[in-house]
Subunit: 162 residues, 2 copies
């Protein structure tokens, strides 16, 4: 079987960074208590240093799942416009979820960064059950469209190593 | 902690059925060989009986993952238009992946149904590495928008029991 992964080039790195910077939502994969996958939608953003994060409610299925097992995956890159949706670029992140302690300086920094890209979150960012989770990304699987697949390191994507 | 799941009603059932009928793509959660989640984009459709399926290449990461462990999850419901994307309805399916044997009558029936909803797939539906996978759905997690969460059975969604 032919290896479908292409050698990483600057075009692939730039596409992954663009997808990370533009994403406001993601499909989050977590594990249920039997170890089966569960995919849900979350808000997504990057902080001032470009680190990936989300704002989630403790009441959500995915928050409880991440507390049990921090292994997650995120799919970024919404489909816009016409044509075969599988030709639209998307990025899969493999990551670990790290909760940000509530009420401290790191939480405040996350909130500042978040509200610049997610202004409507001001309606619920202060709710007691909402908190930030950072994603320590170990690898990216970029699909630039039909058959254009790459495996990227955190450095390729402009992220700190996990 | 309050249970955030609302009692299932006809409005929730209709919304889930609409999301299933309209979806042309899905975010697919599979498991890697260490049991960690991986989320990728797939094409998605329903056959003439309303059963959920996809057309995938054997070369893809998710095909190899489903062959190792058939437990999957799918997120349906793309975000369209303005406003907070978390107010847009979406449906998480918990399912098992069942490959359709190549070349037989079931494959031909899948191909007929698929091309009515995914006409651009005619470019690659005949490739030797492409085949159909059916999803036996055990449950649905419907999020009708901020805080409107339901847990649905296959019958609620108009699907055969898994």
């Amino acid at each position: 079987m032919t290896d479908p992964i292409r050698p990483t080039d600057d075009e692939a790195r730039a596409l992954a960074r663009d997808l990370l910077a533009a994403a406001r939502i993601a499909a989050l994969g977590t594990l249920d208590d039997d170890g089966a996958p569960v995919v849900t939608r979350i808000a997504f953003g990057c902080d001032a240093e470009g680190a990936a994060m989300t704002l989630v409610s403790d009441l959500s299925q995915h928050s409880r799942a991440m507390a049990r097992d921090p292994r997650v995956s995120l799919l970024l890159g919404e489909v816009a416009g016409k044509g075969d949706p599988l030709t639209h670029p998307r990025l899969t992140l493999l990551a670990r979820a790290v909760p940000v302690p509530r009420g401290g300086a790191e939480h405040a920094a996350c909130a500042d960064a978040w509200l610049t890209t997610h202004p409507k979150a001001k309606l619920y960012i202060g709710f007691a059950d909402f908190g930030f989770v950072r994603f320590d990304v170990s690898a990216g699987l970029l699909n630039g469209g039909f058959g254009r697949a790459y495996r990227l390191s955190p450095a390729d994507m402009g992220l700190a190593p996990a």
